[in-house]
């Protein structure tokens, strides 16, 4: 750091997704201390739930792995998982923050040997897979989970069975009696990077998600494609396990819609193009249809659009479908609407329909910033001008590269703020 500035100020980064990770690692590699707080049991956020990234069709774990290595190798980064920031007081250079550490019921003695999960008989709908498939009540979220320690569902911790696991753990890592603790920390600046949640597709009533079994969403589909997902990567539909060979993607499911999210979520077009490749790779005879308003493959992503467009197995229909019906016999979803380039109405049946649902900032709902003077826009994104810095999809809908770019930038702003005195 430059000589005339105080070193050693800590930066609090809230959210351990790609944005928070990037902010933490980039700031720490300049030489600053970082406290990274994540609400979930493991880091990685939304990107860890993805099967591949566009446009390179590569695994997010590859980049995450490097970031985790950078954290492991950097003593300046302290990571708290299952922790939430409850209160922020102060100004740049001198914040006091209160953090609630939820119980994990498994200490960091855990070696991820898996003996406890083997013995556990209780399963929950797997939240990592958006409820598709079941998961043990004591587990790691997924095989690449970092930190590589198990956690226990709090509802399970009170059970008699959970007690039996205590003795079973060869390293004595399990403690169902763990309780929440509250930490108070002094930090110099705060970066809010709590990311996004997929828009609740049930709210998009005409599309029947929740009513029609074979209407899914883009994030659920990511898990379906993933080898560690509920189907082991096989693209099959929920109602009867049929292979998904006629599939439709519906863009702007919730986004660009005054009834839902008025803004554009930016990534969904590209995400559907990417997911179309999943289907076409798994089933070379599959037919994919994409219903869209505008295809938004900005800048060099245009090349990806061209690449996907070159596939004759993918049809593009400029249309926001009006509704989805369900064929009562086959369970096929039937997409109904008007092709705006031909004026022709359609009612097309598919094996499965994937709604390209948009991004809703967590800062609008479950991760409001517990500080005074925070600037939000009307959608709940944390914008510039307030007390706390924000980055990634907490500020605007972004793709991964955009989130990394913004988070690298915010790392510098956080350094500046941390070294600013009152």
């Amino acid at each position: 750091m430059a000589d005339d500035q105080a070193a050693g100020q800590t930066i609090l980064v809230v959210g351990g997704g790609i944005s928070g990770l990037t902010t933490a690692v980039e700031a720490a590699e300049v030489g600053y201390s970082v406290l990274l707080v994540e609400r979930e049991p493991h880091l990685g956020g939304r990107v860890a739930q993805h099967y591949q990234y566009f446009p390179k069709l590569c695994s997010p774990s590859c980049g995450l792995e490097i970031n985790y290595q950078r954290i492991k190798n950097n003593p300046r980064i302290r990571v708290l998982t299952l922790a939430e920031v409850e209160d922020i007081q102060g100004t740049d250079g001198q914040y006091t923050v209160r953090i609630r550490q939820h119980p994990r019921f498994v200490s960091d003695r855990c070696t991820a040997c898996g003996e406890c999960a083997k013995a556990c008989t209780v399963e929950v709908a797997d939240p990592f897979n958006f409820g598709q498939g079941r998961a043990k009540a004591i587990r790691a979220s997924h095989p690449m989970a970092f930190p590589n320690h198990y956690f226990m569902e709090s509802a399970y911790a009170g059970s008699a069975e959970a007690q039996t696991l205590v003795a079973l753990c060869p390293v004595g890592a399990i403690d169902p009696g763990m309780t929440a603790t509250v930490l108070e920390e002094q930090v110099g600046s705060v970066v809010w990077a709590t990311g996004w949640q997929p828009y609740d597709a049930e709210k998009i009533q005409p599309y029947g998600f929740g009513r029609h079994a074979n209407v899914s969403t883009n994030m659920r589909f990511e898990r379906l494609a993933n080898v560690f997902g509920p189907t082991g990567g096989r693209l099959t539909r929920p109602s009867d396990g049929k292979e998904v060979k006629r599939i439709a993607f519906i863009q702007c499911a919730g986004s660009r819609d005054h009834n839902h999210l008025p803004y554009c979520s930016r990534v969904c077009c590209l995400a559907s193009m990417k997911q179309a490749t999943y289907v076409r790779e798994q089933f070379p005879d599959a037919q994919v249809t994409v219903y869209y308003i505008d295809l938004r493959a900005m800048d060099r992503y245009e090349g990806f659009q061209k690449q996907v467009e070159a596939d004759p197995g993918i049809t593009w229909i400029k249309s926001k479908p009006a509704r989805i019906d369900e064929d009562p016999r086959s369970g096929d979803p039937i997409v109904i609407g008007e092709n705006t380039l031909t004026g022709v109405r359609y009612a097309d049946a598919y094996d499965m329909v994937v709604l390209a649902t948009g991004m809703e900032p967590n800062s609008a709902t479950t991760a409001r910033v517990p500080a005074k003077g925070v600037a939000y826009d009307e959608y709940g994104f944390v914008v510039k001008g307030g007390q706390v810095l924000s980055t990634g999809c907490t500020a605007t809908p972004l793709d991964v590269a955009g989130a990394v770019q913004a988070s690298t930038a915010v790392a510098l702003k956080a350094i500046q703020a941390a070294t600013r005195r009152g």
Binding site: M1, Q5, V25, E26, E29, G31, P55, K56, L57, C58, S59, C62, G63, E65, I66, Q69, R70, K72, N73, N74, R109, T111, C113, P143, M144, N148, N226, V227, G232, Y263, C264, R266, L295, R296, M298, D299, R300, Y301, E302, G303, L341, T342, A375, Y376, Y379, V383, K384, T396, P397, V400, A401, V404, Q405, T408, A409, A411, L412, K413, Q416, T419
Partner: protein, 736 residues
């Protein structure tokens, strides 16, 4: 430096103690490998186990640690000690978890042999490992050079200075502000995303000019950039005055050039009339205060804004310039704000107003802006002035004619960094001499230019690590990096400022930057062994190595990213790191005990890239996948560091097959060092010569691309290869 004293610690937890004959392993360590301190512990990563190691370090003088337990990727916090000499032998994840533990006698024997071999390899590795001595230099500078004085450059300089560092800003023209200085207003950046904002240039220029930490050079170009991060010597020609400045890092913010409208398809009408203008010309008109027909100065009442002019088009720019949709909507608003009764038509292909800009799109429609999806087909001068434009109207589904006063063509952005648009070798308005084509004129053995990724843009990993270029310490930002709008350029420039500061802080500590951040090792070479073959200088993905007149390599440690590609390239085996060398890996593989052919236990050497293949193998373990017990895995920093001599060594040591697991290469490469795995593949194509010389089948050696998520496929890949090797005769060299 004190003598190395190795302690070997074998964990017996996680089932290791039950599955293996630990006493035999202790013997391998203490007797065979002569490790002075060898201990076992039932829970090595627990407090007691760690204390045991610390005690030995304190009391026994142990200063090098061989930890035989689990994968190097787990328990890293626990196994952190005050010594750089540490190696992890993975008995759990890559032995126990992938082999039959409860199998028959043969299986048990195989398990034990694998564990012993890994322990042997670890011992040798640690013996060959030296503590890195961080590279230092008295002349390090932490100043940041910013090249290009547009919005991105001004922002970068301001942010560098605001963090307490000095910046030198070089601008080729006489004024700061770049393209944006020619613009009227900017699109909304803040809630409620409806109102045009003041041009930020004036504010930025004032901030930069008022900042004592920033030195501005106008009318200046870079004649030469020599050196390396922390030690760049940059020759600046500032209006004829030539100076050389030492800087630590460089931010490239040279912005974009506009695609030459003269090259557009004729049907777009450029040149037909003065009333066909580019969007930048329209900006200038708005800035000047009045939007008029250029041909006769009459007020413009009807204006057609045609998007994607020469963009998203394989005959022109194949990509999208990202910002034009929003720019054009802004232009429509200029017109409607000048005259609410005017007609503003936005002719789009795909309306791209991402994020909250959707609200701005709404605003422009609210003001009466009319959107039309379609293409311009023909432009003619109208008799009474203005233009008649024929369009294909995709929504009205037909050909339509529009009478307009102006046609505004949204032409695209071309990177200004060295490389120019492939279709357009001389950028707009620039007929430059050869040298002027290169912004930095790098004095690098691999050339003066910044290597491009695609379409002339110079980054290297645009998803996960968008700032990385193949020239360490040089970061592009703004539209020099990829097409982007003003607000994003400012964010981007701030990020680049962080990277520029980060690199000077790292190199002055002797540490590497991404992807091996913090690595203190760097390559050195034995000059007398060099044959001046230049492979290292040619192959380094980051152009880190220069050459002297005789063709000897000149290493620039602060440019180096520690991938080891030079080491892999060197046929003389003279390039090494303190903790990674040809000899080290060669010695490791030779340490594997190869059973005689009669035992029918082939040995297969697996070289696995530490970035993707090793984690993937870990996941095979976590999933309890089954791998052939005959494999022996050696992690490599990068496939680029794979030296062919190891292939020969392995074959002559009796290995029956060699499997190399590197990252995907090609256009969508995943190699963190850009070219490492591709180079390994190229080298390997020559391996058949080696095998022929040894009279061995060439399919004994195979390279596969492994993705980090390939855990489900790896067992098949490995076991199929093992089966294929088993089908061959045993390596005849086993007997020697």
């Amino acid at each position: 430096m004190e003598a190395k004293k190795i302690g070997c610690y074998i964990c017996t937890g996680c089932g290791i103690g039950e599955a293996l004959n630990v006493a035999a392993l202790e013997k391998v360590s203490s007797k065979e490998q002569k490790i002075p301190v060898t201990r076992t512990h039932p829970f090595l990563c627990g407090t007691e186990g760690i204390a045991l190691i610390r005690q030995d370090m304190a009391n026994e003088g142990v200063n090098a640690l061989l930890i035989a337990a689990c994968s190097h990727r787990v328990k890293t916090d626990e196994f952190q000690f005050d010594t750089p000499l540490l190696d992890r032998v993975d008995l759990r994840d890559k032995v126990l978890w992938v082999q039959e533990v409860a199998g028959d006698k043969t299986a048990k024997e195989d398990l034990q042999m694998a564990a012993a071999d890994y322990l042997r390899m670890g011992s040798v590795k640690l013996k060959k490992m030296n503590a890195p001595d961080p590279f230092q230099d008295d002349g390090f500078s932490k100043d940041v050079l910013v090249v290009g004085g547009g919005v991105a450059g001004l922002t970068a300089a301001r942010e560098v200075a605001a963090t307490g560092y000095r910046a030198i800003l070089v601008e080729k023209s006489g004024v700061l502000g770049g393209m944006v200085a020619r613009m009227h207003k900017v699109s909304p950046t803040t809630a409620p995303y409806r109102v045009l904002e003041e041009n930020p240039v004036a504010g930025l220029v004032a901030a930069v000019e008022g900042e004592s930490r920033i030195t501005v050079h106008r009318n200046a170009t870079i004649e030469k950039t020599q050196g390396a991060p922390g030690l760049f010597d940059v020759t600046i020609n500032s209006g004829g005055t030539v100076t050389t400045q030492r800087v630590g890092s460089i931010i490239l913010t040279t912005g974009y050039n506009l695609y030459d409208p003269a090259k557009l398809d004729k049907k777009l009408g450029h040149g037909v009339s003065a009333d066909v203008v580019t969007s930048l010309e329209f900006e200038e008109m708005a800035k000047a205060g009045k939007i008029v027909r250029k041909s006769d100065g009459q007020p413009a009442k009807r204006v057609l804004f045609a998007l994607c002019a020469g963009q998203r088009d394989k005959n022109h720019l194949e990509y999208c310039s990202a910002a034009c949709c929003t720019y054009s909507l802004k232009h429509a608003l200029y017109l409607l704000e000048q005259d609410a009764e005017a007609s503003a038509y936005v002719l789009f292909q795909e309306m791209r107003t991402p994020g909250q800009m959707e609200e701005f799109y709404r605003r422009v429609q609210e003001e009466g802006g009319v959107i039309i999806k379609g293409d311009v087909e023909k432009v003619e001068k109208a008799s009474g002035g203005g233009l008649n434009v024929s369009i294909t109207d995709k929504l009205l589904r037909g050909q339509e004619g529009l009478a307009v006063d102006l046609l505004v063509l949204a032409t695209g952005m071309i990177s200004s960094v060295d490389t120019v648009d492939p279709n357009n070798p001389s950028p707009v308005g620039q007929v430059a001499e050869e040298a002027a084509k290169y912004v930095l004129n790098l004095d690098y053995r691999q050339g003066r230019s910044m290597p491009e990724l695609k379409w002339g843009f110079p980054d290297s990993h645009f998803i996960c690590f968008p700032y990385e270029t193949r020239r360490t310490g040089i970061y592009a930002a703004g539209p020099a990096r990829r097409p982007m709008g003003i607000a994003e350029s400012m964010t981007d420039a701030t990020g680049a400022a962080l990277k520029a500061i980060q690199v000077v802080e790292s190199v002055t500590r002797g540490a590497a930057v991404h992807p091996r951040s913090g690595d203190l090792s760097y390559p050195s070479f034995r000059r007398e062994g060099c044959t001046q073959c230049k492979r290292c200088t040619e192959e380094c993905p980051f152009g880190a190595i220069n050459e002297d007149d005789k063709g000897n390599p000149l290493f620039n440690p602060t440019r180096c990213r520690r991938c080891g590609t030079c080491m892999g390239a060197c046929p003389q085996k003279i390039i090494s790191f303190a903790n990674y060398s040809v000899d080290m890996i060669g010695s490791m593989l030779k340490e594997v005990e190869v059973p005689p052919a009669d035992d029918e236990k082939p040995r297969i050497l697996v070289f696995a890239c530490v970035n993707d293949a090793m984690p993937a193998l870990d996941m095979v373990g976590q999933q309890r996948g089954r791998l052939s017990p005959y494999i022996r895995i050696i992690p490599l920093r990068c496939m680029g560091s794979m030296n062919l001599v190891w292939i020969a060594d392995a074959m002559s040591s009796g290995f029956d097959g060699i499997l190399l697991m590197g990252c995907r290469h090609g256009d969508d490469y995943q190699c963190h060092n850009v070219r490492g795995s591709a180079l390994a593949e190229t080298r390997l194509s020559k391996v058949s010569e080696t095998l022929d010389r040894l009279q061995l089948e060439s399919d004994r050696v195979k390279m596969v691309e492994v993705n980090i998520m390939d855990a489900d496929q790896l067992p098949k890949v490995i076991n199929d290869f093992a089966a294929q090797i088993a089908s061959l005769d045993p390596n005849p060299y086993k007997e020697f």
